[in-house]
Symmetry: C3
């Protein structure tokens, strides 16, 4: 079986945000998948997706601080500055973290580790609402 849908998230502020629940809630079809894969794709070049620790909000703040120093806004090496100081670093952070996740699905749900959650990484000051394309495939059965 194949199923695809788009999911537009509410606008998130710059930073790292847990969105596992929103993704799973958008796919009631997950329940019927015995074994498969879920592909989560972000249709943007200045926001990204990763998996990381799903418990402590300070981990997500540390991610934001780390990436801001590793890929600083307004670095003098950038030529592409017309769209703002946060634009070029957003493209680079997005490339470092990645534009998609592929998650194993078993027994009707994503088979994540206990501590793994899906992060939306918003790299712009005002990124607006981001859209994900979700693609679910697999074998159906109890």
């Amino acid at each position: 079986m194949w199923h695809t849908t788009d999911l537009t998230l509410r606008p998130y502020p710059r930073g790292f945000h847990l969105i596992t629940r929103e993704v799973v809630a958008a796919l009631p079809e997950l329940a019927s998948v015995r074994v498969g894969l879920l592909h989560v794709f972000i249709r943007h070049t200045s926001a990204s997706l990763t998996l990381s620790e799903n418990a402590s909000p300070d981990v997500r703040r540390d991610f934001e601080r780390y990436f801001n120093q590793a890929v600083p806004d307004g670095w003098k090496g950038y030529e592409h500055t017309l769209e703002g100081d946060d634009d070029m670093p957003a493209h680079i952070k997005a490339a470092l973290l990645g534009n998609s996740l592929t998650l194993p699905v078993r027994g009707g749900r994503p088979r994540l580790g206990t501590w793994q959650g899906v992060y939306l990484c918003e790299h712009r000051d005002r990124g607006g609402a981001r859209t994900l394309t979700l693609t679910l495939q697999g074998e159906q059965g109890a």
Copy 2:
């Protein structure tokens, strides 16, 4: 349906290059896919693939400059220097950016965001011709 082919690109100079058109042109089979996934894999360890902004060439030059300062040629921490100053940094950049992309396919084409393009990231001074393994799967239909 499953379809697979290898695509050998022309040699590109060190830097970041848009190759969306080459990839799509190598897969006329895309047209028949109603919903599916396209996996693009690079069979090398010193060049990589990412998705980013497809309009301004200065974005791609900024990528090259950023990664050259983040992962400098000839860093004194490297032991593996026999193959040249650009070899070990090429492996690290490739691991940071990634060796494959999975793109959603809908209605006969990759469902990319408006600003997304496929980048070949060539990290060697003389990388030569790089080969991609393309794997297309999905459900056929209008």
Copy 3:
């Protein structure tokens, strides 16, 4: 065909380790796949997976040295320090390198480049035994 299994690796010390053989050995089902994809997923947030050079052990030591200076233990910017100096950098390194790999399969084996091997990247001092979820799909045939 779909096949899924979990593979628990022996504990590895902090650093980068070649595990291609362990992964392939866990999947005798590979032999029957004419064309397909193998998804390798790590169920943890402080260890990661990448593909890189499979020959020289010094490359893997250089990876460890590079990532230790790029994402230093005990950086003063971290808030999340309760679980040790190596915890927060482990989450960040894991996000940079990635939690999964998708490998093309053709003619009964992963179609890797000559120099490509699967790396387990262990970012904790005492990470323990890590578990991978392997998902194989494809078309069967000689």
